[in-house]
Amino acid sequence: MSVDTPAKVIPAARKITTKPRVSDQIFRGVVTTFSFSALVILSLIALFLLLQGFSTLREQGFGFITHFEWSVATDDSGKEVAHFGLQAMLVGTVVISFIALIIAVPLAVLTALFLTFYAPTSIKRILVTLIDLMAAFPSILYGLWGYFVLMPMAVYWAKLINHWFGWIYIFGVPQPIFTRSPFIAGIVLSVMIIPIITSVSREVFSQTPLDRIQAAYALGATKWGMIRAVVLPFGSGGIVGGSMLGLGRAFGETVAVFSVLNIVFRSNFQILFTQGGNVASMIIQKFGEAGKTEINALIAAGLVLFILTLLVNFAATFIVTKTVKSGR
């Protein structure tokens, strides 16, 4: 039996191409364009703050950072004489932020350890929810709480510290006024940054390789022995990075600090005394009745603050990413 076999038709080889279709090209184009929004926004912030603050920076030069006078006055000939110096505010910002770190870091690390290794599941869930909630509290709430609830207590603590340790310079006071001091602002800030440091540390702690943990237990370590030998060395980068993220937040905090700090243009290292400085709060304080020149100066102060927080955040991000990567 024979069948007529039709002539074999060999289809032409289909063209294989890796070129995306038009729809994909559009999709990729749109997404890529939008992904640069972070870059665009950050550069625009730097650009416009520099543009509007430039006149102040040019007039004041380096004095803008090293002087502590802040005044606009009109002299006899009707010419405006302006002195803008951020030194006291910068010193104040750093002092407050360090007080906040000194209080917050130990508490946050202990909380993170408790949550990761000690707490029973039910307590852990409640505490994690509460700490997440704490991170979402508006900063003005911290301001209200700091002024009305914390301050009466903190003044008492400050008096105690001053009574026993007053002979140390930083705990001394020229006059016995303890309200609205850098110490109290530091406590408020520490409460604000505890959730940040806790969550970063917790994340890093929970990534501790299980085999190392089990190896430590197998060698007879107690839980604390295991934490000291395995978890803390592994997580130290996370603690440092988390603390720096907290520091960035503390540098830029405005409203909460404003409510509990007496802003004075004088560098003050006596942390219990009612005199402090903070760049962000100063901007808010002066903005209301500022004239044209002063607004430019405030914008320049914003630029300084922006650069400061950006640097701290860059460093923090760098440290955290490095730690998390090295663990994997």
Partner: protein
Amino acid sequence: MSTTTVKPVRPWTATPKDRLMTGLSIALSVLISVVIVAVTPMKGKLAYFFIFFFAWLVLDSLFIIRKSSAKGVRDSLASKITLLGSSFVLMAVGSILWAVVYRGVKGLNIAYVTQTMRQASLFDPIGKGGILHAIFGTLLLILIAVLISVPMGILTALYLTEIKGKASGLIQFLVQAMSGVPSVVAGLFIYAAIILTTPLRASSFLGGLALTILMVPTVTRTAQEVLNLVPRDLREAGLAMGATQWKTVALVVVPAARSGLITATILGVARIAGETAPLLFTVGTFDSYNFNPFKGENTAIPVVVWRALNSGTPESVQRAWSAILVLLIVVLILFVAARALGSRTMKK
């Protein structure tokens, strides 16, 4: 022939004697703290707390050292000190929540959430004037910020998870850095860039723009985490079926991550709902409704709190506490609504 059954024992569980010891040490510590507070000049709740805690540390260590070596004592000390640390944090949260609820409830009444401040001043007695206009103002600001920052954030996240282009590392880094921009700088930027250079004046739209700067990083980071959780198989299945990348993302990846993306939006809203500083530069103040986002000043709950706090009379302070309570409740309602929405779309 008798078989011996081995009874399982648990040497690590606490024996009745151990429990007795624990109870005894706690009881003794309470006693010591009461005695010391009564006798010495140390007073107050904190004194009770500290003395109790240190007495407990010492007594319990004494009990433990009879059973195990110094190592065991160090171990138990460590666990107690972590407990101490977290109880401090708990005390802070508890104190804040208690203060808001306890002090806020006093000033809450029907008028407070149904009236505006048009015919009342901050100094009027409680019961006259309310913050309904500020609630609408806050909602309007949130709406504007969401409309701008959610597309921006999700598209950036899509770039980081789906396209994974050459600039991924840089963009990741910049987003992280952007999340650290102080809120006051965001407001100052809008002021410097728009109010000082264009004829536009303070309005809800400008406030929304300032809030966008703060919201985008939060949305991006959460959306990225969620999109990374979508299994690779789903994407590969989509592509293997012949779908283009665009179709795969739009019809497979994004729907799979929908509830997570809603969560990202919620977290962003929670981040900005209570922001005060940027609004002081960009929104101004107003004491009645303003639904036009582009024209005229407006107000928001945090701004109301801010003004009331700075007025300083007992009435205005009471208004501040009540307003912050309302703000927390609004945020909570948004949370619950969006969660419910998210879980319903998941089931579909």
